[in-house]
């Protein structure tokens, strides 16, 4: 046993290398949200405020100028129409007329839309970019956050279970 001790540094190196290699595959834009586990933050913009949110629901941060928001839009429509999920939208750094034109073109899956012209509500939600989607439980506690456009996979694997379905 003692004779094998000389292999210990190699083993330590291998373990460290494996750990760092896994880290290389991670997405540095994926920052854990400190909001998860807390109630929805206090914010108030035109059309939407904290008191309006009735969980369980999704809060989706979007913008008319955001291309991935277009990509995820059919999924939001599906969730609202086929699954009966309540979705609140926050138009981030967007003119209300542009946000409304976006919704007129693609359909409006939101129960209510708030217009966050200067991104101050975005700071309250800890938003780093659009789109971002938060899941609220029945007590309006944030239970999950997804950064970036939703995909059928994340909806099935993360969003619906977080909504309790």
């Amino acid at each position: 046993m003692r004779r094998l001790l000389f292999l210990l540094p190699l083993a330590v190196f291998a373990a460290l290398a494996a750990w760092l290699y896994i880290g290389l595959g991670g997405d540095p834009a994926r920052i854990p949200s400190p909001l998860v586990g807390r109630t929805a933050p206090a914010f108030a913009v035109d059309g939407l405020a904290t008191a309006d949110l009735e969980g369980p629901a999704l809060v989706n941060i979007f913008a008319s100028w955001c291309v991935p928001c277009r990509a995820e839009h059919p999924l939001l429509t599906h969730l609202a129409e086929k699954e009966g999920v309540a979705i609140y939208g926050i138009a981030y750094k967007d003119k209300p007329e542009n946000a409304n034109a976006f919704l007129a073109e693609l359909g409006n899956p939101y129960r209510r839309v708030g217009y966050d012209r200067d991104g101050q509500a975005g700071v309250e939600w800890g938003v780093t970019g659009v789109p971002e989607t938060f899941v609220l439980d029945a007590g309006s506690v944030v239970v999950f956050k997804h950064t970036g456009p939703l995909t059928p996979d994340t909806v099935r694997r993360d969003l619906l279970p977080a909504l309790g379905r």
């Binding site: 920052i31 854990p32 949200s33 101050q120 700071v123 309250e124 780093t128 970019g129």
Partner: protein, 131 residues
């Protein structure tokens, strides 16, 4: 201006562009003491979309929003700690360029010293055995 001098001037102007992009005068607070505190705090806050820059020297929109929020907190009478707490509450410890010392970051803070001690012990043992 001679041609080489003109090219040099152009290059310098291009190089200085990112430095000018960050803080603009309209963002600054009227009170110089408050502004100095805001600048000092901003240097220690990470721009979360351009991760190795502080919000003080980043020209990103989000960095400007955070600078504005930070100044609004200071104007409202927050202490430095309260203003930082406001941002970590929303963006997590990740916004701090200087990570706080707590159980989750012990490995980060103590591992280098730990490895140095371990290496020293191994070296001492190696030379003892050779004697």
């Amino acid at each position: 201006m001679t041609r080489p001098a003109a090219i040099l001037a152009l290059l310098l102007a291009l190089l200085s562009a990112p430095a000018m992009a960050a803080l603009d005068a309209s963002e600054m607070l009227a009170d110089p003491a408050l502004e100095a505190r805001a600048r000092a705090l901003a240097k220690g806050l990470r721009c979360v979309v351009c991760q190795n820059q502080s919000i003080d020297d980043s020209g990103a929109d989000l960095a400007r929003d955070l600078r504005r929020s930070l100044r609004a907190r200071l104007l409202a009478g927050d202490s430095d700690e309260e203003a930082l707490a406001y941002l970590t509450h929303r963006y997590g410890d990740y916004v701090l360029l200087d990570p706080p010392l707590k159980p989750a970051t012990w490995a980060l803070w103590f591992a280098p010293a730990g490895f140095a001690v371990l290496a020293l012990l191994l070296v001492v043992r190696y030379f003892r055995r050779r004697e």
